[in-house]
Amino acid sequence: MTFSLFKSNPGSRRSVIPGFGITLGLTITWLSLIVLIPLAGLFLKSATLSFDQIVAILTSPRTLSALRVSFGISLGAAAINAVFGVIVAWILVRYDFPFKRVADAFVDIPFALPTAVAGIALTSLYAPNGWIGSLLEPLGIKVAFTPLGILVALVFIGLPFVVRTVQPVIEDMDKELEEAATALGATRRQIIWRVILPVIFPSIATGFALAFARAVGEYGSVIFIAGNLPLVSEIAPLLIVIRLNEFAYAQATTIAAAMLVISFVLLFIINLLQRWSARYAR
């Protein structure tokens, strides 16, 4: 099957560079052993259940609530990241301020910092006796151990995605375009809405989708700050772990398979978005 799928282009000139067969073979073998077969095993396992069983697992109140919490709050976090990510990308490219290069490098911290470290740090910041938590406490706002805490953790995790997809587009943007618009009498506001935003919009959408996809699956940074109350602040990945620890493999597998299907649909959308933004970038 693989060989009919990945065949050297018929009609194209045969490459003089050696190693096509062996590198393709090794790539597919290693990919299958580590990624494809294990993932297929997951779907096979959930396929041993009847349709009714699958529906029963997925529509149980606790599963539904966990999926709603994961997807709902991820959507909110990705939206916050879309807004602030564009602002951060904009000031990093267009404005000057002290320690700008340090700030630029630090945008990648959520990529590099282990999620468990982020989780305990955010929890102690937003706990009622923490630096930020103690400021919010008198206002009656509780962040740690509530769904709001999940939002904070997911904003942290998704922060670099929008910045890093939008930033290069702003860097590549032709300033002459803005100059031309100015010369033609456009105001700055018109230029932002009619010239700049249409150019960077596909990259905002891509960054949003990437941040959302990452947030949906996130586990390490969330479980410390969430409080993990079933039906309230329990995320889907945590429910998978709980079911696994109860040896309820069928349940864990079914929820995982459902999440994977949704993630793959997301991945497909991200691919379309990236193709769209690549077309605009030219």
Binding site: L5, F6, K7, S8, N9, S15, V16, I17, P18, G19, T23, L24, L26, T27, W30, I34, V35, P38, G41, L42, I87, V88, W90, I91, L92, Y95, F97, A105, F106, V107, D108, I109, F111, A112, L113, P114, T115, A116, V117, I120, A121, L122, S124, G130, V152, R188, G217, E218, Y219, G220, F224, P237, I240, V241, L244, M259, L260, S263, F264, N271
Partner: protein, 301 residues
């Protein structure tokens, strides 16, 4: 006098032009405040917290929290896992990138999507798939227990989950660069009589070394810091199957905050070192790109 007049008007036009090409001062200040405030709130403060919490009871408490057999065991396990999984993924990444960038074949973009797949899988699910395969109730569970081989709740499971999670990192960094560099140099080498290995070591590798190092660096940071996937397959046996992130979790859940943040501070330092090295490599990469573009321009002229 006329000269002065001239410079005055041109200066005026210049400032007017610049003013029209940027936002009004109020908007600028607002955006700067929002952007920097957001970064300080979500990145600066958490990072500072790790170190202040770790040092809350002073250096002695900090050092003694790290001077503990369980902490040592966690550090050792983390280093072992990274030492196995990172080189494997490095070799795979180079092979996959070679195959994808040096040849034209049908299904290429599909193959790239498959390589990227682990990025869009929840870490928890990355661990779960290996429990389903090698756990006691898994596909190979009986055979493994009959032959007394332990994968889940042991180091091999942790290594497998880590390889899964860090699978795309190296290939991801290499593919765009090697695509941009094309195949002419390799073709020339082969026509001049070099074999495949010589072509790779003498022609390709020098061209991609910074990108390769960059990919390895990111792969390593993730391998050492992975939590969700490893947590599912490890079994949390203290001193045996606890990596540093898992050890942090256990200490934190035991309300041993200083010790938890002490281990966390080591991981945070790793992240900071990774970022510094990353910035240096990005600069080197930019130079390599510029050099390449220049050599092409020279060849064409």
């Amino acid at each position: 006098m006329p000269a002065e007049f001239d410079s005055f008007t041109s200066g005026n036009v210049e400032t007017r032009r610049r003013r029209l090409l940027t936002e009004p001062p109020v908007v600028r200040t607002t955006l700067l405040t929002l952007g920097i405030g957001f970064l300080v709130l979500f990145i600066g403060l958490p990072l500072v917290t790790v170190f202040t919490e770790a040092l809350r009871k002073g250096w002695d408490a900090y050092l003694s929290a790290l001077h503990e057999p369980a902490a040592f065991a966690a550090i050792e396990l983390t280093l072992t896992v990274a030492a196995i999984s990172v080189p494997l993924n490095m070799v795979f990444g180079v092979i996959a990138a070679w195959c994808i960038t040096k040849f034209e074949f049908r299904g290429k973009s599909f193959l790239i999507t498959l390589i990227d797949l682990p990025f869009s899988v929840s870490p928890v699910i990355s661990g779960l798939v290996f429990v389903l395969m090698f756990g006691l109730q898994g596909w190979f569970g009986h055979w493994l227990s009959d032959n007394n081989i332990k994968i889940i709740f042991a180091t091999p499971g942790i290594v497998l989950a880590t390889i899964f999670v860090t699978f795309p990192f190296v290939a991801r960094e290499l593919i765009p660069l090697m695509q941009q560099q094309g195949t002419e140099e390799e073709e020339a080498a082969v026509i001049l009589g070099a074999n495949g290995w010589q072509t790779f070591w003498r022609v390709t590798l020098p061209n991609i070394k910074w990108a390769l190092l960059y990919g390895v660096l990111l792969c390593n940071a993730r391998a050492m810091g992975e939590f969700g996937a490893v947590s599912v397959v490890s079994g949390h046996i203290r001193g045996k199957t606890n990596t540093m992130p898992l050890h942090t979790e256990i200490l934190y859940n035991e309300y041993n905050f200083v010790a938890a943040f002490a281990v966390a501070s080591l991981l945070a330092l790793l992240a900071l070192v990774t970022l510094v090295a990353k910035s240096i490599l990005e600069w080197k990469l930019k130079q390599a790109h510029a050099l390449h573009a220049k050599s092409i321009a020279n060849a064409e002229s």
